[in-house]
């Protein structure tokens, strides 16, 4: 019963703060509202019996939102929210799409013939996950690893101001590097 109450409180909080993300003027407030929503998601995951994954989500989202707040304040013209502003396009169309989608999903949720529960949770849920990732789900784990590595490489490439193609031309065959400041000893 206690977990029932906690679930409903967390659900309402998650949806409400998720909606508030797009209402707040202040970017910092929007970020922390999103953090609240995702922490509530983590709480729901813990309530459903996945303690380890819930804690992982809490840790990841806290750090992610802290980084996000920095970027928000860097890129937005109104980081403190001192003046009201709305920066939306096509709110009506989007509202219609989301309303229809939500109605469809709700209909599906209540009409779908959900399968009966199969099996029982193992003694140690985390151990089960670990054995699965290192066993039958190894391909998933390797794909995630490759995707993470590709992200590291491509985000560094995108964030570099001047790469070798800027210095040496598209075919990398320039006689001398085109640098704004001449390098070398005794310049």
């Amino acid at each position: 019963m206690l977990s029932d109450g906690a679930f409903y409180v967390l659900s309402v909080l998650a949806v409400a703060s998720g909606g508030l993300v797009f209402v707040f003027d202040s970017m910092a407030r929007a970020t922390f509202s999103l953090l609240t929503s995702l922490l509530c998601v983590a709480g729901v995951v813990i309530l459903l019996g996945l303690d380890y994954l819930g804690i992982v989500i809490v840790l990841m989202m806290t750090i992610e939102m802290a980084i996000m707040a920095v970027f928000m304040i860097m890129y937005m013209m109104n980081p403190a929210g001192l003046m009201p502003m709305t920066m939306v396009h096509n709110a009506k169309g989007a509202g219609l799409i989301c309303g229809v989608l939500f109605a469809l999903l709700v209909a599906g949720i209540f009409l779908a013939p959900w399968p009966a529960i199969k099996g029982r949770p193992p003694e140690d849920v985390t151990m089960d996950l670990g054995l699965s990732l290192m066993g039958p789900q190894m391909l998933t784990m390797m794909t995630l690893g490759m995707a993470l590595f590709a992200t590291i490489v491509s985000s560094v490439v995108l964030a570099t101001r001047r790469g070798r193609y800027d210095r040496l031309g598209d075919d990398l065959d320039a006689e001398a590097a085109d640098d704004p400041v001449r390098g070398g000893v005794g310049r």
Partner: protein
Amino acid sequence: MSLEVVMLLAAALLCAGLFGALTQQSIVMLMMGLELMLGGVIVAAAGAWHYIAPGSADGQVIVIVAVTAMALEMAMGFAIVTALFRKREIDMTDMAAELKG
């Protein structure tokens, strides 16, 4: 608490996130909408694990995939915003419409 209620929460989060992703002009705000949508996916996967197949770890693996997707989306999104901003001082989706189909 039942499967339906958990899925309802997931659907609500997904639709709220989709609304944000469709309406927000700022690229960073758009990414927040995507994060919210993935939060809905996490809830749905955890609910499916708990109420349909707790015997296998597949539901947990989907949660891991969704969490990883969130991290990748953030990193790549910020890298692209940084590159766009550095080249042309753009931080709005409407200004970066060259690839529009």
